[in-house]
C-alpha cells in the first residue's frame, strides 16, 4: 500500500493543556487550556510574570509533571504514550542549580549519556566542554564548582544525547555577563545547526534579541502569540522618554511608566509623538532630557499584561 508521507511534525505541540493543583487551600488552575505549536528549527520564547505557568508547562513537556487535561508532543511523540522517544528528542536545562555531589564533571556527562543509551560519547562531551568553557573543570568534583560553572554543566548535561529540541528554563537567572555571552553564542549556533530552542526568561532584551516567535502567558493562559517583529510592530512602537518635576495630566499619567522623575510614554507614530508633546506643553509640563526611540519588548510585554488584566 502506498502511504502519503506524514508532514513534518512540529518540534513541540501543546494541545489544550490544563493543570489543576488541589491543596488544602482549594484548587489552583496553573494552566488553563494552553495550545500552540513550535515549528522545527524555531527559536521560541515563552514569557510571562512569575506564577504565569511557564515552569509548569515546561515540566509537563519534560514529563516531570502530569497534565490534568490535554496532550503534548515532542517531534510528534506523545510525552506520555511514547515517553521514551519524546524524552530522547528533548534536552532540558532545569531552572534550579542541581547536581550530584558524588561525581566529577566528566563522570556526570558520561553517566547522563548512558541513561540515554549513548555509548562512546567522548568526542561530543569534549566538544560540549570546550564550547561551554569547561575544559579545565572536567576532572573537578561538582561540589568544587562555582554557581556559573554548575550552570554550564547543566547545559552540557541537557545536550549529551544531541536532542533536536532544547529547552532552557530561565538559564541566565543570576548568571554573570561572560557566561551569558558564552551560552547565547553556543545556543545560537545550535539553533543555526537546526536545533529547535524553547527559552523562558525574565530578561526581555534577551528574548527580543534571540527569539523569532514569542508566546506570552498570564495566569495559565496564552495572552499573546506572534512573531517577535509583529509583536513589536503591532503595538505602540515608538517610545518617548523624558524627565519632569511637574504632574502629568491624569489621562496621560495612567498610560505612562513613571520611575521617580523619569516618565515613559508610547506612541504609534511620529504624529502621535507630536500630539503628546503638544498636550504636555498645553498642560504646562516642563520637560528635560527628551529621548525618542523604538519601543522594546518590555513595553509590549507591559501593554499586553495590562490589557489581559
Amino acid at each position: 500500500m502506498f502511504q502519503t508521507p506524514s508532514p513534518t511534525p512540529p518540534a513541540v505541540r501543546f494541545e489544550r493543556v490544563a493543570k489543576t493543583y488541589s491543596g488544602a487551600r482549594g484548587t489552583l488552575r496553573a494552566l488553563d487550556g494552553v495550545s500552540f505549536d513550535i515549528a522545527q528549527g524555531e527559536f521560541f520564547g515563552l514569557l510571562g510574570p512569575n506564577g504565569a505557568g511557564k515552569t509548569t508547562l515546561i515540566s509537563i513537556l519534560a514529563g516531570l509533571t502530569l497534565a490534568t487535561e490535554g496532550r503534548v508532543t515532542v517531534m510528534g511523540h506523545d510525552v506520555l504514550a511514547d515517553y521514551a522517544a519524546a524524552r530522547r528528542a528533548l534536552g532540558i536545562v532545569p531552572q534550579e542549580l542541581v547536581f550530584d555531589p558524588f561525581f566529577s564533571v566528566r563522570e556526570t556527562l558520561v553517566i547522563q549519556s548512558g541513561y540515554f543509551g549513548v555509548k562512546n560519547n567522548g568526542a561530543w562531551i569534549d566538544e560540549l566542554l570546550a564550547s561551554l568553557g569547561l575544559e579545565d573543570q572536567a576532572g573537578a568534583n561538582m561540589r568544587q564548582l562555582s554557581g556559573g560553572m554548575k550552570r554550564r554543566v547543566l547545559v552540557a548535561q541537557a545536550l549529551v544525547h544531541r536532542p533536536p529540541v532544547i529547552v532552557l528554563d530561565e538559564p541566565t537567572a543570576g548568571v554573570d555577563v561572560e557566561l551569558r555571552q558564552t551560552l547565547w553564542q553556543f545556543v545560537s549556533r545550535l539553533n543555526r545547526d537546526g536545533h529547535t530552542v524553547l527559552l523562558t526568561t525574565h530578561y526581555l532584551e534577551e528574548a527580543e534579541a534571540l527569539c523569532s516567535r514569542i508566546a506570552m502567558l498570564k495566569a495559565g493562559r496564552v495572552v499573546a502569540l506572534d512573531r517577535t517583529a509583529n509583536l513589536l510592530a503591532g503595538t505602540a512602537s515608538t517610545m518617548l522618554r523624558f524627565k519632569t518635576d511637574d504632574p502629568l495630566p491624569p489621562a496621560m499619567a495612567a498610560q505612562a511608566r513613571i520611575t521617580g522623575r523619569s516618565v515613559q510614554l508610547t506612541a504609534r507614530d511620529a504624529a502621535e509623538v507630536e500630539a503628546l508633546l503638544g498636550r504636555l506643553r498645553g498642560a504646562g509640563v516642563r520637560i528635560e532630557e527628551l529621548e525618542i526611540g523604538r519601543a522594546d519588548l518590555e513595553d509590549v510585554f507591559l501593554e499586553i499584561m495590562q490589557a489581559a488584566a
Binding site: 558524588f102 549519556s113 541513561y115 543509551g117
Partner: protein, 251 residues
C-alpha cells in the same frame, strides 16, 4: 539495555566512593556485636547441639548486615536525589520503570552482598564456619537483599524528609530484623512470641540462610523459600507499580 546498566553502575559507584561509611562501618558494627554477645553468651547459650553460640551468631549477623545495607542503599540514594533535586536528571531520561527497578534493586543487592561477605570474612576468623548446605546461603542472601532493596525503593519514594526515612528504618526494618532470630532461635521464645515470629518474613530469610551453614533450621528451608519468594514478588510488584505511575516522582 545500556540505560539501566548505567544507572546500576552509577548506584554501585555511589556507595563504593564512600565505602568507608557504606561497607567498612557496617562490617565493624557486626564484628562488635559478635565480640560482645559472643563473649558474654558463649558459655551460657547453646541453640543447636554441637554448635557454639558464636558460630550460631555469625550467619545471623551476616544476614542482618545484608538486609540492612540493601535497604539503606536504595532508600538513601533515592531520598538524597529527591532532596538535592538531582533526581530530575533521571526523570528526563527514557529509562522505563523496569530499568529503574533493576538498577536500584541490583545495586542494593551488590551492596548487601559486599557488606555480608565482609562481615563473613572477618568473623570467619573468629568462628570457623561450616557449610552444610551452601546453596541455601546463596539463595536466601540474594532473595533477602533483593527484597530489602525493593523495600528501600518504596521507602525512598515515600519519604519526603530524612527523618521519615529514619522512622521507616527504626520502626519497621530494625524491629523486623532483630525479632527475626538473628541472636536466638525462636524455639527459645515463649509460645506467643514464636507464633508472632512466624508472621515475620524476615524470620524465614534468616532461618533459611542459617540452614545453609548448619543443616538444621527452625522450619523447613522449602517453607522459608516459599515465604521469602512470595514476599519478594509482592514487594517487587508494589515497587514496580509505584515507579510505573511515577508515585511522588511526577506531580
Amino acid at each position: 539495555m545500556t540505560g539501566w546498566r548505567t544507572l546500576f553502575y552509577k548506584e554501585v559507584l555511589r556507595f563504593w566512593k564512600v565505602g568507608f561509611q557504606t561497607v567498612a562501618a557496617p562490617v565493624l558494627t557486626a564484628v562488635l556485636y559478635l565480640l560482645i554477645f559472643g563473649h558474654v553468651l558463649e558459655d551460657h547459650v547453646q541453640v543447636y547441639p554441637g554448635v557454639g553460640y558464636t558460630s550460631f551468631l555469625v550467619p545471623g549477623l551476616v544476614m542482618m548486615s545484608v538486609l540492612q545495607n540493601a535497604f539503606a542503599n536504595s532508600s538513601s540514594s533515592l531520598i538524597q536525589s529527591k532532596i538535592t533535586g538531582n533526581l530530575v536528571f533521571l526523570l528526563v531520561t527514557p529509562l522505563s520503570h523496569r530499568a529503574w527497578f533493576a538498577a536500584y534493586v541490583g545495586a542494593s543487592l551488590v551492596r548487601g552482598l559486599v557488606v555480608g561477605t565482609g562481615v563473613f570474612l572477618v568473623t570467619a576468623w573468629l568462628a570457623p564456619p561450616h557449610f552444610a548446605e551452601p546453596w541455601w546461603i546463596l539463595i536466601f542472601a540474594a532473595l533477602g537483599a533483593g527484597m530489602l532493596g525493593s523495600m528501600g525503593l518504596i521507602a525512598g519514594l515515600w519519604a519526603e524528609k530524612f527523618d521519615q526515612l529514619a522512622a521507616f528504618q527504626n520502626f519497621i526494618i530494625m524491629p523486623m530484623t532483630f525479632l527475626s532470630g538473628v541472636f536466638y532461635s525462636v524455639h527459645s521464645l515463649p509460645g506467643v512470641w514464636q507464633t508472632v515470629s512466624h508472621l515475620n518474613p524476615f524470620f524465614y530469610m534468616i532461618d533459611g540462610f542459617r540452614r545453609g551453614f548448619f543443616g538444621v533450621s527452625d522450619v523447613s528451608p522449602w517453607i522459608s523459600l516459599a515465604v521469602v519468594g512470595v514476599s519478594f514478588v509482592i514487594v517487587s510488584a508494589v515497587a514496580l507499580r509505584l515507579l510505573a505511575i511515577g508515585w511522588k516522582l511526577r506531580g
